[in-house]
Amino acid sequence: MIEFEIILASIISMSAPLVLAVVGETISERVGIVNLSLEGTLLITAMVGFAVASVTGIVLWGFIAASLLGGLIAFLICFANITLHINQIAVGFTLTILLGKLSSYLGQPFVRIPGPYTPQIDVPFADTIPIIGKAILDQNIIVWISILSIFISWWFIYKTKSGLILKATGENPYSAAARGINVRLVKYIYGVLGGSFIGLAGASFSLHSHYGWSNNHTLNYGWICLAIVIFGGWNPVRGALGAYAFGALQIIALKLQGVTFGLSQVLPLIPFPLMILSLVLIQYSNEKKLLPDRVRRIIFGNMPEYLGITYKRE
């Protein structure tokens, strides 16, 4: 039982950055903006978060700086796409490569140096509560934020009027505009908000789960998160479950490292075939109408209709 609690706690702790990135990307994609800079943004914000925290000695500044930078990068994508009408994929992809290399270049002084880390929070009586005590309460602030972000974003997207506007803009910006919604503003707001979550995720890699900085510190995690968002059907709760499942997979891979050499290398690739499979299933069930609409949506989620498409006001 104790063993199980420890494993559960480490899965939740390890997955915190993934959860934050998945929630951020989900918000962004729901409003129709594919933040393809995810991979590069995670790298540079991980570097900047760690750098700022180790220079100032205060972890909080690291998180704030990374979050602002993530928002700024997303703003650049929004500006390029919403205002200049450049293809989102083109900008996002170029930024991924630029920021990834830039993180190696600017991060040189911070490679493998010690710095501050996110402190554990002591909750009184945490040990007395079974499972939850160890797995959720006995963590640090960023893990709490990652857990809260799942439910708050879910509540916001599905249960509030602003969430409805967010979804409507992603589904069909032209209809939304006809209903009097300021589509450009909405896209800017949630694009940047999503980006700042991704920035937070980057910092929580370097200040929490994969402590420190080295070249290509978070390599491929961005692409993995992109896959998990789709696998989660653009729903933050299911996306987060996907992230936790991937976290569990990583811990299994870590344990197996000594046993089978190849398996630990191949296991982290599992989200990708799953992503393709879920996209195939979404389309298949849409076409064949095998399931009632509601059931289908619960199982597979729905891709925002205007995802990745540039909005041009007529």
Partner: protein
């Protein structure tokens, strides 16, 4: 009078691009200064390090050929309005095909090289076809499908390297055993001049140029991208032409994978694509779907990469600098073109000239 002179010397399109290049370089230089690097010293070192001695020049040609091939592949798919993010996977499969042949009895015979090239094209195009089928038959957007397939190909290579094709005794991710020398791509004389890669990429260029300028196939490939509905009304299946685009792109970039495996590494290593596929996307983005422009940019980028190693030694600059400059240039170019900053600059200058 001045206006006529300007018109005479520059066609508007050329003038625009010249101004845009000029602006891009200025912004990039400012960016480099922000990083604390002198743009002039970078420029000089790149020239010194890339084309002034034969060794480096050979390397520029080798890497330039690989980049051109991946840019060609992307121009083909871009012309069908497809984002072929799966390019890396297709290149990796080309390399897998090459090493596969080299490891059979064919690898130690004179047939090795033609068979390697052929198999690389087949493997690359089949992998492209998977992405195309996912797109046309299952509605999987090619960006997500392609991304997934990239990682699946990477996983397959890791599996091969540590599994069935592992080196005798030790399984390590440093790669397979070297392939037999008969299956290496030959170099010219004692110099390292990469004759075969250059021939391959020139052949691919001429082939694609011919298709796009002389055949109805090229026209159809272009029109399926520009107007899918009109295309269907003509009674042609747009899906089939999109698939064909993927197949051609996969075959072309498979060649690049073949060069990597048989011309550079002489074995299969994880990450054998070296990121050249993704770099090809950047090149195709700025080349405006023109094959010749893509070659020019590929070789400039190749000089940057090869000269980058000189920068590392002489100026003590980090190995990531060439990548920063490449992606930075592309991003600045995209922003300038989209905001028509080049046109605004021309209008501003010409209005000044006329007023004077």
């Amino acid at each position: 009078m001045r206006r006529i002179m300007i018109r005479f010397f520059f066609t508007p399109h050329l003038l625009e691009n010249v101004v845009a290049v000029f602006l891009t370089l200025i912004f990039a230089s400012v960016g480099l200064l922000f990083l604390g690097i002198s743009p002039v010293s970078v420029f000089i070192s790149i020239i010194e390090g890339s084309i002034l001695d034969l060794d480096s020049l050979s390397r520029v040609l080798l890497i330039g050929s690989i980049m051109s091939l991946s840019a060609f592949a992307l121009i083909v798919t871009f012309s069908c309005n497809i984002w072929n993010i799966g390019i890396e996977g297709q290149m990796m499969m080309g390399a897998v095909g090459t090493v596969f042949i080299a490891r059979t009895f064919l690898g130690d015979s004179v047939l090795a090289i033609p068979m390697e090239i052929l198999t690389a094209m087949v493997f690359g195009s089949l992998f492209g076809l998977i992405c195309g089928l996912l797109k046309t038959k299952s509605g999987v957007h090619e960006i997500f499908g392609g991304l997934g397939l990239d990682f699946i190909a990477a996983g397959l290579i890791v599996y091969l390297v540590v599994g069935p094709w592992k080196r005798d005794g030790i399984a390590s991710t440093s790669g397979t055993d070297l392939i037999p020398e008969l299956s290496w791509f030959p170099t010219l004389l004692e110099m390292k001049f990469p004759i075969l890669p250059v021939v391959i990429f020139l052949f691919a260029y001429l082939f694609l140029k011919f298709i796009y300028s002389r055949t109805s196939l090229g026209l159809k490939l272009k029109s399926v991208g520009s107007n899918k509905q009109a295309f269907s009304r003509l009674g042609l299946s747009s899906d089939n032409y999109i698939l064909l685009g993927f197949v051609i792109a996969g075959a072309v970039v498979g060649l690049a994978g073949s060069i990597q495996a048989a011309g550079i590494y002489h074995k299969l290593v994880p990450n054998i694509s070296g990121g050249y596929g993704f770099l090809g996307i950047l090149i195709a983005l700025v080349s405006n779907r023109k094959l010749g422009v893509a070659i020019a940019i590929s070789f400039i980028f190749s000089c940057l990469m090869v000269g980058g190693s000189t920068l590392q030694i002489k100026l003590g600059l980090h190995a990531s600098l060439p990548g920063i400059v490449q992606a930075g240039l592309v991003l600045i170019w995209l922003l300038i073109k989209a905001s028509s900053l080049d046109l605004k600059a021309i209008n501003f200058v010409s209005s000044k000239l006329i007023h004077d």
